[in-house]
């Protein structure tokens, strides 16, 4: 690739919370670099600091110490409004519980980030439709969340994450509320996205899910315990194989 700047370059991140009189060190010096197009899994038990790391990487929180460059820009000291713009333009979020607006059509849910980006109505509709087609929901544009299955809801959420053409997608336990078969389909969708050049950082506590990524980072006690590349398993093939198992 011509552009060698890492998409994400975090140095010596520390985060300390004060719970009453006690200081809790959620992150104790985490350094992490992710290149463009990587599909990274962040693993760890609860309390390992992986959620705190994701909040900082997602520009939802600021580190106590350390620097964080996102697409070459130092973002660890930006104010709330500037962080909101970064989240809107550079990042896409996928959550465990989908976080779709109830009683609102799939199309309108996907249009939401573009409203805050100031995209005009016609263009919003066009791009939202395309994003939904990309995740295989071209025929469900007008369905509201309660008319969709869990997997379909997560696809809408992914469409919402990619519709702004972000550089980085942060997925927080995206398969946590889904059954195994649907999980595989969602992971396959992520692998498709990675193939188009989008960088994905995924938080999970399921080792088999982590197996579908290029690189696994294990967090423990606020530090990176290990960080190694791997050859990913093809989720599409796994999903197809799964489909042949009699129910």
């Amino acid at each position: 690739m011509a552009d060698e700047t890492p998409i994400l370059d975090a140095r010596d991140l520390e985060k300390t919370y004060t719970m009453g009189t006690q200081a809790v060190h959620a992150l104790r010096g985490v350094s992490l670099t992710v290149q463009r197009g990587e599909f990274v899994a962040v693993m760890g038990t609860s309390g390992s600091g992986k959620s705190t790391l994701m909040n900082i990487l997602g520009c939802l929180d600021r580190p106590t110490k350390g620097s964080y460059h996102l697409v070459g820009r130092e973002v660890s000291r930006l104010d709330r409004d500037e962080l909101a713009d970064i989240r809107n333009q550079v990042l896409g979020f996928v959550f465990q519980s989908f976080n779709l607006l109830a009683r609102t059509s799939a199309l309108e849910n996907v249009e939401l980030p573009m409203i805050y980006a100031g995209v005009g109505g016609r263009e919003r509709r066009r791009r939202a439709t395309r994003a939904l087609e990309q995740v295989g929901l071209g025929d469900r544009l007008d369905h509201t969340p309660n008319q969709l299955s869990g997997g379909q809801m997560q696809r809408v959420a992914i469409a919402r994450a990619i519709v702004t053409e972000p550089k980085l997608i942060l997925a927080d336990e995206p398969t946590g509320n889904l059954d195994s078969k649907t999980s595989l389909e969602i992971i396959a969708l992520f692998q498709d996205l990675r193939a188009t050049g989008i960088t994905i950082v995924l938080v999970t506590h399921e080792p088999d899910i982590a197996g579908f990524t290029d690189r696994v980072i294990l967090m423990r006690d606020g530090k990176v315990q290990y960080d190694r590349p791997q050859t990913p398993v093809d989720a599409r093939a796994a999903a197809d194989a799964y489909a042949e198992v009699p129910a």
Binding site: L60, A84, R87, Q89, F95, T104, Y116, G118, T164
Partner: protein
Amino acid sequence: MNIFATFRIAVLALLRNKMRSFLTVLGIIIGVGAVIAMVAIGEGAKAEVQSAFDKMGTNMLVVRSGSSQQGGVRGGAGSQPTITWDDVDAIASEAPGVARVAPSIRQSVQLLGDGQNWTTSAEGTVPDYFTIRAWTLKSGAFFSEADVSGKTKVIVLGATVADSLFGPGADPVGAVVRVNNVPFEVVGLLARKGQSAMGQDADDVALMPISTFAAKIQGGLKKYMQGTVYVGANSPADTKLAQSSIDELLRRRHGIREGQDSDVTVNNLAEAASARAEGTETMTRLLAGIALVSLLVGGIGIMNIMLVSVTERTREIGLRMAIGAKPSDIRIQFVIEAVTLSTIGGAFGVALGVGAAEYLRSSLGWATVVQPEIVAISLGFSAVVGVGFGLYPAHKASGLDPITALRFE
């Protein structure tokens, strides 16, 4: 982010909770409706009082002879004739603030016409009387100055007298009426005024030139003007000036010193009218005040619902922030939701208030007046209520931390 998109978001959010939005709006509807209906009732009462006084005469002052005094017994206003014809002329020519003067003398007479008879008090006066007492014609004409100087035997009848003599609705102009057996030609029929402010029948009158009256009814002109002098001031503002200048003039002419009781009384009807109008104004304010309280309660209802809504939609707020909403975007969204609620409530409230005022007017006969200003003010106020009571919940929503908001259960 553009305002239409925000407005759309707000409306969609409200539509997601139709019943709750409706109940919230109801508070404002009732508040605004109450304000408009109450003020309409108050303004109607005020207009009614004003029109009653206007019918009696515009900018009118009434000058009467003072009281007689015999051995400590005072006879009451008018019991002792003290106003001379020269006094009347002096008021017209010398007193500042006075536009026109009409002396009026009256006597009970029997009228005969078209085979019917009717007893009423005939009044002798001058043409200015019609202007001062705000009479208008239904047909014919008023008598003129020429009629006064020529002692013409002409008469102008009130609606009640005409109905009694010629039958309801008949036009008596041109007919002959005998007043105490003297034939008079009817030249004019007055338009009906209805009940006077004092509750009498204002239309039971028969008017003729004062000279004719003195010659044919009273039997010669007396030295004193044994009646009432109606004075029209230049303008409503001039009634006070006219009142004091007439009082001063007559004291001087009658040689009455400062501090002594004058032998004439000057009543300012315009002032009495405005005092009465002020009384109803106070009532209007009181009613509007009570209604305003209900509008305020409606506003608190909006705040309550908005606060519930912020808590209920914490995750939604977190999500919006995660995908790029700035705190100001969230604040604007909630303020617009509140303002939308209150403005819709205001619009329906106006309809309710105007409808109620119309119902009271047409079905119950209340004199209600809906003023456009009040409609505008209550609409504006309901929007202000929306902003005022929407700001705090909106501020609370915009201050949420996206991480906690996203995790909120």
